[in-house]
């Protein structure tokens, strides 16, 4: 079977995937930091009665890191919510057509959002904008949005190529697209998450 685009797609998929994984890890780290900061805030306030001034400012500024940074990662693994009632009964070319259509819509809106969210950053950068208490500049947080969306755009283009390739030749093996999640598979993924450890306790008393 001729598959001229397959190998290229796989390479791109892996390359972009590395950046996505890194972004996701940063987001996870920020969440851990949020936990630590919250505990420090409570301790500082209740024990030393000197709360971290600008705690809210710091939380708000860091939020963008876990709110949007990993957006391309989630797109890669097909984690964004959708209704699969119709899509799951489709097969072959029809299925790939609707998937490609969805990708085109996504590419359109993300391509609009990138320059205009960059404008939003630029307004903050040029005219000034800050948080309330510490008067921290907000532009770095605003810049994260077009960055994360740019990676998302690359991911969406790869997925569009993946769907188009299958639309052209539905007999090729699926590459560089998220697995179609039928409800059973979503459930299976949930189950895998709880498999790693701990559900059934190893405490001997439990087995008695």
């Amino acid at each position: 079977m001729k598959d001229p685009t397959g190998p290229l797609l796989v390479t791109l998929d892996r390359f972009v995937g590395k950046a996505e994984n890194a972004f996701n890890l940063v987001a996870g780290g920020l969440i851990f930091g949020l936990m630590v900061l919250g505990v420090v805030q409570i301790v500082m306030r209740t024990v030393f009665s000197s709360p971290i001034l600008g705690y809210i400012d710091i939380v708000e500024l860091s939020m963008v890191g876990f709110a949007v940074l990993a957006i391309a990662f989630v797109q890669r693994v097909g984690g964004h919510v959708r209704m699969e009632l119709v899509i799951q009964v489709l097969r072959g070319r029809t299925l790939w057509f609707f998937e490609a259509l969805g990708s085109c819509l996504a590419i359109f809106i993300v391509a609009v959002l990138i320059p205009y969210s960059f404008d939003h950053f630029q307004r903050a950068f040029q005219f000034g904008d800050s948080t309330i208490d510490l008067e921290l500049a907000t532009w770095p947080a605003k810049l994260v949005v077009p960055m994360a969306l740019s990676l998302l755009l690359v991911r969406l283009v790869i997925q569009l190529a993946g769907y188009t390739r299958l639309f052209v030749n539905p007999r090729l093996p699926p590459l560089a697209i998220p697995a179609l999640k039928r409800p059973e598979e979503v459930a299976a993924a949930e189950i895998r998450l709880t498999e790693t450890s701990g559900g059934i306790d190893d405490d001997a008393a439990t087995r008695a």
């Binding site: 709360p51 001034l53 600008g54 809210i56 400012d57 939003h120 005219f127 000034g128 208490d133 008067e135």
Partner: protein, 338 residues
């Protein structure tokens, strides 16, 4: 659907003549947050008057509850032309309007309505303020005259200046800085969290526009005392217009805006007085009033107030004429900054 002609039917981009040729059809959107309240009377009256005086040809649609923009992004909305009117608060984004932050300075001479109006008007006319709003394609129409702040708190009432040392207080901007100089510990909190904060003692007192906001956030229910006459300062939440939209208006509409302003201002100031009329007896009955005499206030003004203002001038003089702004503010109230 009614068969009557609705003023909304024509967008602002397609002005059409009504029965009265003197009043072309205009539709403006106004971005507001929260519910209609005493602090939004100015916009309410403005919308009502404008519509009335143009025989319904000019409509200002009020979008409450952040329906068309987040409050802190209202200037962005004006800059991108998303709407023509917005209320903005200077302390929501100090660096978006660094010069207007002068109105958050502590102990400015704004104790009376007349002085408050005079000072704010003078500041609005200052080139630095005009310029910083022009960057956002915005122009200041009028203030909503946020009342002077007072503190309200739980526990032992501060009977002398020394009692403020070590108190955890929620106070923003220049008032917060002044309290730090008095020895208080500042804490940040969203306005809605102040209630539980005061109640639980994670903060001892909070400053809010008096008496309007204290009662709106129900702080009095969990407090033991409040200050009166301390008047440590205020903030400013003006009604702004899109400059582009304003410039597009026909001259007779400019005149309408000019004519209704004194009425809008009067209604706004009256709204706070009405609120006070209900609130003050309530507070006096339930809480201990810590009164500040003018002499005590002047002492605070000359000690901590002046230091905060001096520091602010020093920090900002390189960017704009901060000293000129402060001097102008004092001058407008008939006093001098020294």
């Amino acid at each position: 659907c009614g068969s009557n002609e609705s003023p909304q039917e024509a967008g602002k981009d397609a002005p059409a003549l009504t029965h009265d040729a003197a009043f072309p059809k205009v539709v403006w959107d106004a971005s507001l947050w929260g519910n209609p309240r005493a602090g939004t009377v100015a916009v309410d009256v403005l919308a009502r008057e404008v519509e009335e005086r143009t025989n319904g040809a000019w409509q200002i649609n009020l979008h409450y509850g952040e329906a068309i923009s987040k409050a802190r992004e209202n200037l962005d909305g004006i800059a991108i032309g998303a709407f023509e009117v917005a209320m903005v608060c200077n302390f929501y984004h100090p660096q978006k309007n660094p010069a207007l932050m002068v109105l958050t300075m502590p102990f400015l001479p704004m104790e009376t309505d007349a002085k408050s109006k005079a000072v704010r008007e003078a500041v609005y006319a200052h080139p630095a303020v005009v310029a910083e709003f022009a960057r956002w394609d915005a122009m200041l129409y009028t203030s909503t005259f946020l009342p002077q702040y007072e503190f309200m708190g739980r526990g032992e009432a501060p009977s002398s200046m020394a009692d403020w040392v070590g108190m955890t207080v929620r106070a923003g901007g220049g008032i917060g800085d002044a309290m730090v100089l008095l020895g208080a510990t500042p804490t940040s909190s969203t306005a809605t969290e102040v209630y539980t904060g005061v109640q639980q003692g994670t903060m001892d007192a909070a400053a809010f526009p008096f008496s309007y906001s204290h009662v709106a956030y129900r702080i009095h229910e969990v407090s033991d005392w409040y200050t009166n006459g301390m008047a440590p300062g205020s903030a400013d939440c003006p009604v702004v217009f899109s400059k582009t939209a304003y410039d597009k208006l026909p001259p007779q509409y400019h005149k309408v805006l000019h004519d209704v302003r004194s009425m809008v201002d009067a209604a706004q100031l009256q709204a706070y007085r009405d609120v006070d009329e209900t609130n003050l007896p309530l507070l006096r009955n339930a809480l201990l009033e810590v009164s500040f005499s003018p002499a005590m206030r002047n002492e605070l003004r000359d000690s901590v107030g002046k230091r905060v203002i001096d520091e602010w001038i020093e920090e900002n003089q390189d960017t704009f004429d901060a000293r000129g702004l402060v001097e102008l503010a004092f001058e407008a109230a008939g006093s001098t900054f020294k």
